[in-house]
Amino acid sequence: DTAVSQTPKYLVTQMGNDKSIKCEQNLGHDTMYWYKQDSKKFLKIMFSYNNKELIINETVPNRFSPKSPDKAHLNLHINSLELGDSAVYFCASSRSDRASYEQYFGPGTRLTVT
């Protein structure tokens, strides 16, 4: 069974468009995250939700808006896409009762903005 799933796997779109990425986890975790991995493979946290509440909001353009309808889902909506948004976006989940916050990652969504 897939633990953390993301859709779509690939997303190619033009500048100025609006797009969404969906994430679901079936691990029973209470915390979910969005990360961005750039072309140099650097992985940086964008947002984190604990029990549907936003707890981490890094310096990310407000064109990016996360939404958590419930503990098992965290979606990412991006408005007015720019070339620099091209990257791989990873969803992850963890348990907040474990102080090490070990992350379980989804397979990633490769976003290409043309």
Binding site: F42, L43, S94, A99, E102, Q103, F105, P107
Partner: protein, 110 residues
């Protein structure tokens, strides 16, 4: 400012050789994790080290957490082509947040 510095960033060696990857910081971390990422996939957790000086072994992989909990190393013995991948260290920083090193791209040549 990079909180966690990994070295080397790239490493290409022959099958059967040994190697060590380092993860260093000027900050103290309550715990540190190592992940491996293969092309087209998300990172997968290998190990978590919590106690200063702790050593953990995972088959041919040995992980060590520095005494001061500011650094860690990953040693691979008799590397195999299946060990090829991007190795990432990550430390807990603040509330429920991990910071990642920039990664070490390891290639094991048959």
């Amino acid at each position: 400012t990079q909180l966690l510095e990994q070295s080397p960033q790239f490493l290409s060696i022959q099958e059967g050789e040994n190697l060590t990857v380092y993860c260093n910081s000027s900050s103290v971390f309550s715990s540190l994790q190592w992940y491996r990422q293969e092309p087209g996939e998300g990172p997968v957790l290998l190990v978590t080290v919590v106690t200063g000086g702790e050593v953990k072994k995972l088959k041919r992989l040995t992980f060590q957490f520095g005494d001061a909990r500011k650094d860690s190393s990953l040693h691979i013995t008799a590397a195999q082509p299946g060990d090829t991948g991007l190795y990432l260290c990550a430390g807990v920083w603040g509330a429920q947040k991990l910071v990642f090193g920039q990664g070490t791209r390891l290639t094991i040549n048959p």
